[in-house]
Amino acid sequence: MLTVSHLTKTYPNGKRGLIDVGFSIAPGSVTAIIGPSGAGKTTLLRSLNRLLTPEAGEIQLGNQEMRQLPPRALRLVRRQIGMIFQDYNLIEPLSALENVLHGCLGRKSLAAGMLGLYTKEEKKQALTLLEEVGLGDYALQKAGSLSGGQKQRVGIARAMMQAPQVILCDEPIASLDPASTHTVMTLLKDLAIQHDLMVIINLHQVDLAREFADHILGVNAGRIVFDDGPAALSDEALAHIYAAPEEAAYG
């Protein structure tokens, strides 16, 4: 269970990224965050693993409060949270397998990690994950030589390697063609169900949110303006989410 309450983030330039944001997310579900550009979707997502640190509010993962954790404790909680990115952020000169193995570096001791010593189990697990995302045959190929959709699937396998409770996806399909988009979204949905994960996805496409999400958060001007299932996402609700900021403030 991930519970966020009263989360507020103000940027150094005075711009308010998040205003009193609260919601909760259940395991085994896909949550889509939608809203106009600049509404705070990315700020919200990046606050959840403390890539950004909000100045007020609570982020509760299980029974652990995350917002105020000191670096060492934060590192331990971050193992529970995988993340995938629009630009994949793979290390391109390394093989797909090595990139997936990076997912278990959070659990490694400094010495073993520095020497790049992975256990047999870890290697087996990484291979299994690559097979699970349909890239078993590409394990030894350089990540840089894969297609966009394949890179994103390696990114997903790397996140899964952490054995996480949560996977954060920052615009995961924004650089992909329609076929790859469908593959990646289906994969995320299946993983959420099979591994009882909380998958949280920033999306620009409302129809994808409707098709794949169990839970939709609408963000406008730093506030949550919609928090419900896809069935409740009426045209009115959509208009409200995508309203120009001034209207939303009075809505």
Partner: protein, 282 residues
């Protein structure tokens, strides 16, 4: 010619400008500069007093020396074994100082790259390295020679010192070329800073670090030859200095130059092979 070139370049972005632009400050500066250079040249030619130099004889003996050096290279005071041994010493000096420099520079570059170190530290490191680089390698060797004494130790320390400053800049810039997000991707999975460096940064920058280090090796070889003569380090530079300035044995000078050239060509061949290999790595 030069003046018209410059003024036409200046005018290029403003096509409607008048064809005879008057009082163009750049043009004026160029004229003053050219006039002063011409005056200096005339003054120099008028006053160099070539009274004792017979240009015919001088030219002939110059050509004779060139002929001795490059068409009749020959052993003089020293045996070939001695020269090859000296060349090997110079190469060893270059190799050692490059390796020391690269290892230290890697560590320091972590504190100099803006995507890894806090901004004030990065700026301070950058300025310090620029300061060290501004002073030529040979001068650093001489500076250390006053502390340690003329000889090999001063050469090793001085050459390494300048190599560090040079490589820190090159390495830090390679580090900065790695997108912050690629490092963040591992950091937010809970990996320690050291492991992010090892598994995200290192594989991404390895080819460019290798190629910078190799370039520095070439520079250090040149420097190693020079300090052999200037700082009493020995090596091929010392033999070059002795045979030219002490024994006036131009045939041996020629042979030494060919030896150094042969190694330089070998280095270039290695560089080409290395570049091909690195291109495959990326």
């Amino acid at each position: 010619m030069i003046e018209t070139d410059i003024s036409s370049q200046r005018r290029a972005p403003h096509p409607p400008a008048a064809p005879h632009a008057i009082a163009n400050p750049a043009r004026k500066t160029t004229r003053i500069l050219l006039a002063s250079l011409a005056l200096i040249t005339l003054y120099a030619l008028a006053t160099i007093a070539p009274d004792n130099v017979d240009l015919g004889v001088a030219g002939k003996s110059f050509l004779h020396n060139l002929d001795l050096m490059f068409l009749h290279p020959h052993l003089g005071q020293d045996t070939l074994a001695q020269l090859v041994d000296a060349l090997a010493r110079s190469i060893a000096l270059a190799l050692l100082t490059t390796l020391i420099g690269a290892v230290i520079a890697f560590g320091l570059a972590l504190f100099t790259a803006r995507n890894l170190a806090p901004a004030p530290l990065a700026t301070a490191m950058r300025s310090l390295m620029a300061l060290i680089r501004a002073i030529p390698t040979i001068l650093w060797v001489l500076v250390y020679a006053t502390v340690i004494g003329l000889g090999t130790e001063a050469a090793v320390v001085g050459l390494s010192f300048h190599s560090v400053a040079y490589l820190v800049k090159a390495f830090a810039e390679s580090f900065e070329a790695v997108p912050q997000e690629k490092l963040d991707a591992l950091r937010v999975s809970g990996a320690r800073f050291g492991l992010v460096i090892r598994h995200a940064l290192w594989p991404s920058v390895r080819p460019s670090l290798l190629s910078w280090t190799f370039i520095r090796f070439e520079i250090n070889f040149t420097n190693a030859v020079a300090v052999g003569a200037a700082a009493g380090t020995g090596g091929i530079g010392y033999y070059l200095f002795m045979s030219s300035a002490f024994y006036f044995d131009f045939q041996e000078v020629g042979l030494i130059v060919y030896l150094v050239l042969a190694f330089a060509i070998l280095l270039e061949m290695i560089a080409v092979a290395l570049r091909k290999h690195l291109a495959k790595m990326v």
